[in-house]
Symmetry: C2
Subunit: 230 residues, 2 copies
């Protein structure tokens, strides 16, 4: 078996070489076509060729690596004999966090708001659990063409658990020419422009906003937490 499949994360840096059009085209598949891409790549690898699947960010976080593993488990036995290499990358939440300070400096969760792969009530349950236990929350896939309402609904849900002034970081296209990172608060966040390339970080009760004259404020979560939150 000489076939080999590499699943490679480009991180945010290389994404600056993607045109906005190409990026939209990739995002527009809305997680529905990942299994088909994975199966096609595995079938090619089985033929003995070396195949690479590339994606922005980290392939292991809401991306192609899980789709490839699903195909290996459920596809023909020969898939299990392939050499598979997964190369990690800097995922979006780390890139956005670095631009604004250290919002992920304490315990945090990463949650996809895409409900074509899980029911919305499960997403709400996870939002409640994570916010209630004091985790900072990084939201992937906050909206898409087929589900424009998810982001506002999630902010509303979190407002039931967290104070209105909780810092929220909205990052878009980090590392690209049209990069935009803005800081807002939970009570205003739902009106922030979010699209398929947006990553949102919602602070915990501990997350701090540090104003700086003439500069973007820093947003960070202290490494220590003294109290067991309610």
């Amino acid at each position: 078996m000489s076939g080999h499949l590499a699943v490679i994360g480009l991180g945010p840096g290389d994404v600056r070489h993607l045109t906005p059009e190409a990026d939209e085209a990739l995002k527009d598949t809305d997680n529905r076509e990942e299994r088909a891409r994975a199966a096609a790549a595995l079938h090619d690898a089985v033929q003995g060729t070396r195949v690479a699947i590339v994606s922005g960010g980290d392939p292991g976080v809401f991306a192609m690596a899980a789709a490839v593993c699903e195909e290996i488990e459920h596809g023909p036995e020969i898939f299990r004999a392939l050499d598979v290499t997964i190369v990690p990358g800097v995922t979006a939440m780390l890139a956005v966090a670095a631009r604004i300070g250290a919002p992920l400096g304490h315990d945090f969760c990463a949650l996809s708001l895409s409900d074509n792969l899980k029911p919305w009530p499960l997403i709400e349950r996870r939002l409640d659990a994570a916010a209630g236990a004091g985790f900072v929350i990084a939201l992937y896939n906050p909206v898409s063409q087929s589900r424009p309402w998810q982001f506002a609904r999630a902010m509303e849900r979190l407002a039931g658990v967290l104070p209105p002034a909780t810092p929220v970081v909205v990052g878009r296209a980090v590392g690209r020419a049209d990069e935009q990172v803005t800081v807002t608060t939970l009570d205003r966040a739902s009106s922030a422009a979010a699209d398929m390339a947006t990553l949102v970080i919602v602070g915990s009760r501990e997350t701090r906003l540090v104003p700086r004259a003439g500069r973007t404020p820093l947003v960070y979560t202290p490494r220590s937490a003294a109290v067991v939150s309610a």
Copy 2:
């Protein structure tokens, strides 16, 4: 103000150039000396020099970036006028996940078991909340010289929520010559060798283990979750 401070993540790759001795020395500060390192770097930057703080992994995840932000908030006003650049890196959980499949392919949390920065009951509350809501859990700082018991205690706690056969990935020194990534189950995990350079990933109820003849099994969490777990 010409001073500049860069906080740079080396990712897992460059860590292979760290000797085990240097690595132990850095880890041994046990999160207690980060504020002092940050303050020293900021004071140097205020003098007009360009200063860099480097660390393995990502500086924004349980590392130096939050300590620097803490110093900027609580230190002299002049710290807020400095140029601060944070360069993200591949954090340990992404590196370990890539070696074994895609355990972080669905919603997940990152949690530090170090209790010198937060009380142990808060850690237990977060373990319960995360596991109960179906998040995969990445554990940083599972043990240290001053707290060798944390890892086993956490496994015990999670066993109250998750099935005994839940896959657990124990990764050590990924990207270094002495790299070791092993797969076990929740009921056996506490006997796994864990040290200060270990990163542990505890699966959710959905996490799958795919045996492969003559190869390490794949561990992955499917992108979809059909049920609202209990």
